[in-house]
C-alpha cells in the first residue's frame, strides 16, 4: 500500500464524523491499528484505503477523504473483520453506514454499487420480493454500465435452464400494501433530523 501524505488544515477535520459513522465512537477510538481487519478482508487489496487505514482516517475526522474512497463500496459484509477485531469494533456495520452517508452526500466513488442497491430497494417495493431480471435491467439501465451483454448471455442460460421467468408481477406478494406502508413510514422517520 503506497504511502499518502496529507497537508492537514483544520477545515479538513470533522470531529463529529466518528460519531456519525459508527455505532460506538468510543470503541472506534480504541483501534490499535493492528491490521487484523485488513488481513482478514478479501477485498482489501483493491481498496483505496485498507480497513485499518480507514479507521484511522475516521478517528482523525478526515471525512471527505473517507467518503470519496472506494473502500467501503468493496465491502461484501463477510463479517470476518468484525469477528476478529480484538477491540470489538463494529467494522462491517460501519462500512454499511459509510455507504449510506456517501450516497446522501453525493460523494460515492463507485456509483455502480450504489445504483445496484437502489434498484434492489425499488424492485422490492414494487413486488415485495426480488425479481432478478427486473433488478438487472434496472441496474444496467441506471448504472449505464457496459458489461450488460455478458449478463445477457448468463441470463439466457438461466432462462433456458428454467431458472428465471421474465414476468416480474409473477413474484408479487399479497401484502404489497403493507410493504408500501413500511417504506413510507421509514421514509418519514428517516426524514426527521
Amino acid at each position: 500500500m503506497a504511502e499518502k501524505t496529507f497537508n492537514l488544515t483544520r477545515d479538513m477535520l470533522d470531529h463529529t464524523f466518528a460519531d456519525l459513522v459508527t455505532p460506538d465512537r468510543e470503541k472506534l477510538l480504541t483501534c490499535i491499528q493492528c491490521g487484523t481487519c485488513t488481513a482478514s478482508c478479501p477485498t482489501a487489496y483493491a481498496m483505496d484505503y485498507t480497513p485499518r487505514q480507514l479507521w484511522r482516517l475516521i478517528q482523525l475526522g478526515l471525512k471527505e477523504e473517507v467518503l470519496t474512497s472506494n473502500s467501503f463500496w468493496l465491502c461484501t459484509a463477510c463479517y470476518l473483520c468484525t469477528l476478529r477485531c480484538l477491540r470489538g469494533i463494529a467494522c462491517t456495520e460501519t462500512m454499511s453506514t459509510l455507504k449510506r452517508m456517501a450516497v446522501s452526500m453525493g460523494m460515492e466513488k463507485l456509483s455502480s454499487s450504489a445504483r445496484f442497491y437502489e434498484a434492489f430497494r425499488d424492485t422490492v417495493r414494487r413486488h415485495g420480493r426480488l425479481h432478478e431480471v427486473e433488478l438487472m435491467a434496472t441496474f444496467f439501465g441506471r448504472a449505464k454500465r457496459l458489461g450488460a451483454m455478458g449478463y445477457t448471455r448468463l441470463g439466457f442460460t438461466l432462462w433456458r435452464k428454467g431458472k428465471v421467468s421474465l414476468d416480474a408481477s409473477a413474484v408479487n406478494i399479497r401484502g404489497l400494501d403493507q410493504i408500501e406502508a413500511i417504506y413510507r413510514k421509514v421514509e418519514e422517520l428517516e426524514a426527521k433530523p
Binding site: 449510506r100 454499487s113 413474484v171 413500511i182
Partner: protein
C-alpha cells in the same frame, strides 16, 4: 418437527433446485417445512446499504407473520438467515430500536415481540435432525466421493450461533454421514464476493477463481447459500478462459447431495438446473 419455512427470493428463481431438494430431504427425514404465507424479501445484502430502518423492518414483517404460528422460522438462504436473526439481536442490543420498529410495523397493521426463533436449514439438519438420522436414511453409496464443504461467510458469521464462525464443521459431519469424504479446505468461510460479481466483476471473478482453484482435486463443492452457489457455478467457463486451465467443478446444494444419498432421483432434486453439469458425478456414483 414442523417448522415455518421461508425459502427466500433466490429459491423461487435461480436456486429452485435448493428449494425443491430442501423440501424433499426434510420430508425424507420425517420433518416438515410449512411455507410462511406471503413472506417478503428480507433485503439481502443490499437494503442495509441504503436504509438502516428498512433493513430491520423488511425481515421484521416476516418475523411478525411467523410469530403468529408459534413455530420456529427456518430459512435456507444464508442472507435471509442473517437478516432475520439480526432483527432479534438488534432488538436486544439497541433499546431505542424497539419503539421505532413498533411504529413502522404498526403502520402496516403488524406487531412483533422479538421472540420468534430463527434457524438456518443447516442448523436444523445437523443439530435437530442430527447426523445419525441422516446416516440411517442413506440408500446409495457415496463412498470415496470428495466433497468440498463450502459454507461462505454469512452462514456462520458474525454470530456463530450454531457452528464455529471460523472453521465450522456441521456440513463436514453431514458429508461424512452420507459416506462421502469432506475435502480439506481452509477457505470454507472465505467470502465468494456476493454481489461484487455484478457490480465490480473483476474483483468478484478473482475471489471466485481463488475458491475454485483451491477446490481442485475434489469431485464437487456443496453449499447452503444460493448466492455462493450461483457465483461458484455460473462463471466457470469464463474463469477457465481467463486462467487458461479448464475448470469443471459441479456445485451442488447440500440438500441435493443428501438427496442423492437418500436415493432420490435427479429430477426430484432438479439437478439438471445446475449450470456445470453433474452428469459426470452421477456416473461416478454408479461405479463406486
Amino acid at each position: 418437527m414442523r417448522y415455518s419455512y421461508m425459502p427466500g427470493c433466490s429459491l423461487l428463481s435461480t436456486a429452485r433446485g435448493y428449494d425443491t431438494s430442501a423440501r424433499a430431504v426434510i420430508r425424507e427425514l420425517g420433518s416438515e417445512l410449512v411455507e410462511l404465507e406471503d413472506w417478503n424479501c428480507c433485503g439481502a445484502n443490499a437494503i442495509e446499504s441504503v436504509s438502516y430502518l428498512l433493513s430491520v423492518a423488511l425481515p421484521a414483517r416476516n418475523l411478525a407473520l411467523a410469530e403468529l404460528s408459534n413455530r420456529e422460522l427456518v430459512t435456507s438462504c444464508s442472507s435471509c438467515f442473517l437478516n432475520l436473526f439480526k432483527v432479534n439481536h438488534r432488538l436486544q442490543r439497541e433499546p431505542p430500536l424497539r419503539g421505532r420498529l413498533e411504529e413502522i410495523l404498526a403502520a402496516a397493521g403488524l406487531r412483533y415481540s422479538g421472540k420468534c426463533r430463527v434457524r438456518h436449514l443447516l442448523d436444523v439438519i445437523a443439530n435437530d435432525i442430527g447426523v445419525q438420522a441422516v446416516a440411517n436414511r442413506v440408500e446409495r453409496n457415496l463412498s470415496g466421493l470428495k466433497v468440498v464443504p463450502y459454507y461462505g461467510c454469512q452462514t456462520v458469521r458474525p454470530y456463530g450461533e450454531y457452528d464455529g464462525p471460523y472453521l465450522p464443521t456441521s456440513m463436514d459431519r453431514l458429508i461424512e454421514a452420507v459416506g462421502a469424504v469432506p475435502f480439506p479446505y481452509l477457505w470454507k468461510t472465505r467470502c465468494c464476493g456476493g454481489i461484487l460479481m455484478t457490480t465490480e466483476k473483476a474483483i468478484g471473478m478473482s475471489l471466485v477463481s481463488e475458491l475454485l482453484a483451491a477446490a481442485q482435486g475434489a469431485d464437487c463443492i456443496v453449499t447452503v447459500c444460493p448466492m455462493c452457489q450461483m457465483n461458484l457455478d455460473a462463471y466457470q467457463r469464463e474463469i477457465s478462459v481467463q486462467l487458461g486451465v479448464r475448470i469443471h467443478m459441479p456445485v451442488l446444494f447440500l440438500t441435493q447431495l443428501l438427496g442423492l444419498a437418500f436415493g432420490l432421483s435427479e429430477r426430484e432434486l432438479l439437478l439438471d438446473q445446475n449450470i456445470v453439469p453433474v452428469s459426470g458425478l452421477l456416473r461416478q456414483l454408479q461405479t463406486v
